[in-house]
Amino acid sequence: MVGRGKLSDQIPRSLLRRGSFMVKDKTAYSLTAIILFIIIIVMVIYHGSRNRLVASGTMKFTIENPEEAYDIWKDKNVKGRILLLFDNYPHMRGYYTYDGIPRLDRSNFVEFGVFQNIIRKIFVIPDREWEEFQQQEAIHPLRKAAWGERGLYLFSMSGIPIIATTPASLPHIAEEPLVYVNDQKFDYETTMDLLSRKKIVSDIIIRCRVKGGMWKGTSSCLLRSSCLPSA
């Protein structure tokens, strides 16, 4: 920027020195910007990791009511976790569509976990055939997952990442997820075998023996116009 072209011969030395300082100054600004950017990245990564709380060891629970899963998570003080859901597509209608403050019930324990920041991401392995699952009215795919043909990111009102996939396409999950198995829909032993084949280790594995699964509904308030804010 400084002292280029014909003009450079005419610039007094004092100005050249000033120009040289300017270049150094620009470099200082550049380095400061880069360092600040790195600090921001480190800061948010640290903030995220600080809010992921895992229970020690591996605990297995058998429950009869789906909403008991939430109580277990709460009791074990876990937070900011991935949920591996071997069940129907979860009931996710959005915080402000409830009449008043949302209350825990058998149909919304997953969403309730999201509201309480216990769950930050969901891998859902639906019980239905893949093609049949995709044709459900409640399913609004955003995009295909990068790691497999049978992996779909689904829209939700809260924006929480929900990835639907099949047992065979389930990717390895590096961190310990919470696992919930509806054993009316999935064979528990087969599911455990799948987890071990995928090298997925969990701190809390919940087996739900309730008849009919966690949610029997056929539609949810995902992208229906009545559920959306005005603009």
Binding site: D25, V44, L142, G159
Partner: protein, 401 residues
Amino acid sequence: MDEQGHVPAAMHYWNDGQFEPDRWEHPPLRHILLYGFLRLFGDNPYGWRMRNVLFGALAAVLTCLFAWEISRSRKTALTAGLLLAADPLHIVLSRFTFCEVYGGAVFLAAVVLYVKYWNTFSRPDPVQAGGDTDGLPDHPVGDRHHALFVLSALLMGCALAIKWNFVPGWILLLLLALFRNNTYRNFRAALFVSSVYFLIPLGVYILSFYQWFGRGYTFGEFIEFVTNIYYSFQLYTAQYYDQGLILLSRISAAEWFVSPIVLGQGTYLSADRGEFILFVNNPPIWILTIPSMIVLAVVAVKRRSMTLALPMLLFCASYALFLFIRRPAFLYSAAPLLPFAFTAIAFMIAKLSDRYGPRLYYAALAVKLSWSLFLYPLVTAKKVPIALYSYIINNPDVSIH
């Protein structure tokens, strides 16, 4: 109005890092700003709306400064500022919680600082120039001026962290800075421009998600989330909105500057009086936008002045987004374009008055401001005589109760 969703979303985001009931696709600085105003003024209409009132007023001042930096003409600067201050759409949006007002003001502040920095380089140093300033390359400016560029980058980051709509303007300014005087060929200069004007805005954008990261998310999941936002925007076609939404009747950005648009709702208080909240595009003024942009472009090319071309370039970059996106382009999205449109209009009026006499300038200004002020009570829910505005109210897009 939208504040029914925006206010609880601000509290929800600050406390839990969650976006509901607002859309999760929009960046969250809006929530942080609103939360700050709620703390400052309380959870009442002042707290809800002062953000837009203050930033709306600031936008008029910034438009004035922008037009001044572009033209160095008091007439142009004053006219541009006044046109925005009196524009009915800008006034209506400044009374609610629409992000176009404060987002637009922050974006404009970034642009003003950018142009100021740019102009610092453009005016040749008289010591070097020896009185002849034509065709000289940059002179070494005082180091403190780089702070303008850094500050502009910070504000640009804030604009991006309010809405993605400002991305085209950001990329345009970044490219102009890189290509100006072949900066990209000089490693240190290119590093300076790209690190400051790319990394700082990006850093601010990421930082605005701090509360969201507090839900346990990783940086990889942030990339995943931003990708999901992009795909989710593709889902938002007209049929996905509440079909009772009044704005849905006019969703094409192509109409904004060429045909009258009146949207809104109102109530008849008696047989001859009523009150209305209307979103209008003020055709007597807006219609001049495209011709003014052409005039500005011609003058900029003649003078070989990139600075003069900036309003046109920023307008085109921002407007092109709305012309080509799939989701409906509601009229309120035009608000951030107005400072650039009004700068071009003011520039044209000032040029014409230079040629045809100052009376033309004052007459044009008086007519335009009178018209805007005539619309003011109609659009802002003041009690108005129906007869006076019947030709505007009797519009199929105005829903009367």
